[in-house]
């Protein structure tokens, strides 16, 4: 492969065989602004014979009718998370039907779908476009066993890729918690309800052929909410179950009890206070677990005490944020993915809890996504380096076990991007000299908050001044690295990667390549 070095000093391919040419990363905003709009991808045109029902008798029948052939691209959404039954169901059927070399391009891959590794081995899947890779699939792709092109994109980056035609979806199989016979779909009701269909909406807009798969066929017309309108949907398949409700809409995540994570969260909250960002009209995004969620608790108490009302919350919305909306702490919520039952209920009950599609959420190449208006985002990480670069894709063993998600997008868009992580985790320091894989560039990360203190990116002198004034518990990132290494008893030894074999390339949200994931020796 022809490699070049990007502006972060990382080697990336100029071309990925079986995918195409790529430009190297040149800065978070190198490709944004000063850009003349042009008409890229035209929308798929269909001329369906008018009918009163698009319901097909079987999944196999629907696939046959879709015109799917070997080598084509199929997509799914991941809103049903670990409760999803649709990806395994469809892939199993495609395998039975003898398909080969398909490009599997879901919006992301839930942890639970280890079966996908088998479909790569069997040759059903010949190319992978996703946001996340975990579990057995991660181990397989990091090993020497198979060799398929893999492109990892952020949520905003995927929206851009669909718009410009870098991903051309031939058939989208969309799990539909509530669907009528002409293909109007929503996710807020039904036995397998999942809340917002933010990723699914984009898939439906761009795919040449859309098959809705539902376990809840309702009387026409679906009402009161339609997230994906019928004119984008070609066929409807009814199945017994599209997923396990217990794993789709889990109970609200509880605030962590880990003392380290609580301290990390508290330090992040102090950083927010010091930056002067928690003011009326403030906008915020946080994670749904660990330290990232715990920040929400401190923030909530503070906003209640000081009677501060924010303008909007954004995400990946969990029960906590829905709670804050109902308490009047935010005027609105923009929800691209709902994480639990409480969120779905909030969406139904509260018109200020709005469903947004992923392009609206995070696409860098449109007239302005919501991440651009974020005052503050709290992001997790697997590890980070002394240049504030963040890795959310590979673990300490160098195996793929994470997702790009909205990380790059929110970090670039937010005024204050805070990454939360403990300085040492499972006996291994989290701050490295250089992370194995850069997902989010340090240029877009303002603060790294740990249990030992808050590290401020030297690029943000203004923040540093405010932090000193506020007596924030500051820490030097290299110091933290040293202290963590002293506890661990040394710097972790480098993983023996096979630099001749690429496991995956990591796109930045603007389509350039920010880093390469290598296979293990």
């Amino acid at each position: 492969m022809n490699m070049t070095v990007n502006s972060l000093g990382r080697k990336v391919p100029l071309e990925v065989p079986g995918v195409g040419a790529f430009a190297p990363y040149a800065g978070p905003f190198a490709k944004i602004g000063g850009f003349k709009p042009f008409l890229a991808q035209t929308q798929p045109v269909r001329s369906a014979v008018p009918s009163r029902s698009k319901v097909t008798e079987s999944l196999r029948g629907a696939i046959e009718r879709s015109g799917l052939r070997d080598g084509m691209t199929i997509s799914f959404h991941h809103h049903l998370r670990n409760g999803d039954a649709v990806m395994p169901m469809v892939l199993a059927e495609l395998q039975k039907m003898g398909f080969k070399n398909l490009t599997f391009a879901p919006s992301s891959i839930p942890d639970a779908h280890d079966c996908i590794a088998d479909y790569v081995r069997s040759g059903l899947i010949g190319r992978l476009y996703t946001s996340g890779v975990r579990g057995e699939l991660g181990k397989l792709l990091s090993s020497q066993e198979v060799d398929i092109p893999v492109v990892i994109r952020s949520h905003g980056g995927r929206a851009r890729a669909l718009d410009e035609g870098s991903i051309k979806v031939d058939v989208a199989f969309l799990a539909a918690p509530s669907c009528d016979c002409l293909g109007n779909i929503t996710g807020v009701c039904g036995p397998s309800a999942c809340g917002s269909l933010g990723y699914a909406i984009n898939e439906a807009r761009h795919a040449a052929h859309v098959i809705a798969i539902t376990d809840n066929l309702v009387e026409y017309p679906l009402h009161p909410r339609i997230s994906i309108p019928q004119y984008l949907v070609d066929q409807v398949v009814k199945v017994d179950s599209i997923g396990d409700p217990a794993k789709i809409a889990t109970g609200a995540a509880r605030i962590t009890r880990s003392p380290v994570n609580l301290r990390v969260a508290y330090n992040a909250f102090l950083a927010m206070k010091a930056a002067g960002i928690i003011e009326p009209g403030f906008s915020f995004q946080m994670g749904v677990g660990g330290a990232s969620l715990a920040v929400g608790k401190f923030l909530q108490d503070y906003m209640l005490e000081k009677q501060i009302q924010g303008s909007f919350g954004l995400g990946g919305v969990g029960g906590y944020m829905a709670d804050m909306l109902s308490q009047g702490l935010f005027k609105t919520l923009f929800d691209v993915q709902s994480f639990d039952n409480a969120v779905t209920k909030s969406m139904i009950a509260n018109p200020n809890h709005m469903e947004v599609d992923v392009s609206w959420y995070a696409n860098p190449m449109n007239a302005g996504a919501i991440v651009n208006n974020l005052d503050c985002v709290i992001l997790g990480a697997l590890d980070a380096d002394v240049d504030f670069n963040v890795n959310v894709l590979t673990g300490n063993d160098g195996v793929l076990r994470g997702a790009s998600g909205g990380h790059q997008d929110a970090a670039a868009g937010a005024k204050l991007a805070i990454v939360v992580l403990p300085s040492i985790r499972n006996g291994v320091p989290s701050i490295k000299k250089k992370v194995d894989v850069i997902t989010t560039p340090g240029e877009s990360v303002d603060v790294i908050a740990t249990e030992c203190g808050v590290c401020i990116n030297p690029l943000r002198q203004d923040l540093l001044d405010l932090a000193v004034k506020a007596n924030l518990p500051l820490a030097d990132i290299s110091d933290l690295k040293r202290k963590a290494e002293a506890l661990a008893g040394g710097e972790p030894e480098p993983i023996s990667f096979d630099c001749d074999r690429v496991a995956a390339v990591v796109e930045y949200r603007d389509g350039t390549l920010i880093d390469t994931v290598y296979k293990h020796k």
Binding site: R257, S258, P259, V260, E451, K483, L487
Partner: protein, 294 residues
């Protein structure tokens, strides 16, 4: 002056908890080699504690080790291995007489000398867990300069007395009063016993407020979730603080003007009250409270 409101018990055989202890928010921790550790693991726990004491940076945290009693086979090894690591103090269980304290004092001093440590470096916190110990509380507290605190072990004390330990705590009232008085008379700290019900923070807060009123300087606890409530109970109220600021300001003014008599809100205020007010303001500052000046 160090904050000593909360003292979190951590089993000596839990390296992860010890490693995370600086982030619990407690003022001090009690690494337990005694009741929390099974007989077969005493050596293992002792080694974890001593290795951490020697190599781990506990930051501002005060570290105390509860060693096994002199009536056990583990006492000598505990002293031998723990004292050279210089914990702030060792907590000695079941002190029933000043002789119990003096024995420990002697053993510790020998160990300090052998290891080139100034004699008296490691303090003793004496646990009163028996009726006999209670009767001799002052003698125990003042047995030697090494004694830094008296503590009450509620579970063992009530067992010794043959009574039930209750949430209301009537059965411990006298013991608490006696211990706190003895401790103050001897010029040492007084730590209250643990609140066992982790799921009843209101009960914990009520008990903590009561013992603060009695004069205890700190309280032990068994779970990090209890620390916040204990600190809340020890926190001077805004009303108290405002009054303290008034008193201290008046005292300073009286001194500047060469006046011997201090009056606040029309009432005379004498020296002990001024001293208490100053102490309260120092405590507030130490606890990180913002005290607005009048």
């Amino acid at each position: 002056m160090r904050a000593s409101r909360s003292m979190l018990y951590i089993p000596g055989d839990s390296p992860k908890m010890i490693q995370n202890s600086p982030y619990f928010g407690a003022d001090s921790i009690l690494l337990d080699l005694e009741d929390a550790i099974a007989m077969a693991e005493k050596d293992s726990a002792r080694r974890v504690v001593s290795t951490f004491l020697r190599n781990f940076d506990f930051g501002d945290l005060t570290v105390i080790v509860r060693i096994n009693g002199a009536d056990t086979e583990f006492f000598e090894d505990d002293i031998k291995e723990i004292i050279p690591c210089r914990p702030y103090a060792v907590r000695i269980p079941k002190c029933s007489s000043p002789e119990d304290v003096l024995l420990a004092d002697r053993k510790i001093a020998e160990c300090e000398r052998r290891n080139g440590i100034p004699v008296g470096t490691v303090k003793i916190h004496a646990m009163i867990e028996t009726a006999l110990g209670l009767e001799r509380a002052f003698a125990i507290a003042s047995a030697c300069p090494r004694v830094g605190a008296l503590t009450i072990g509620g579970q063992d004390f009530t067992a010794d007395m043959g009574v039930q330990k209750t949430k209301e705590g009537t059965e411990l009232f006298y013991a608490r009063c006696r211990i706190v008085a003895a401790a103050h008379a001897a010029g040492v700290e007084a730590y209250d016993t643990v609140w066992a019900d982790i799921d009843d923070p209101e009960g914990l807060y009520k008990e903590s407020k009561e013992i603060v009123t009695l004069g205890f300087t700190g309280k032990a606890c068994i779970h990090p979730s209890q620390i916040e409530m204990i600190h809340k109970a020890f926190q001077p109220s805004e009303k108290e603080l405002r009054k303290a600021v008034k008193i201290v300001t008046a005292a300073e003014e009286a001194e500047r003007n060469g006046k011997g008599v201090i009056a606040v809100d029309g009432k005379m205020v004498d020296a002990p009250i001024v001293a208490r007010s100053q102490h309260l303001l120092e405590l507030a500052k130490m606890y990180g409270m913002e005290v607005a000046q009048i």
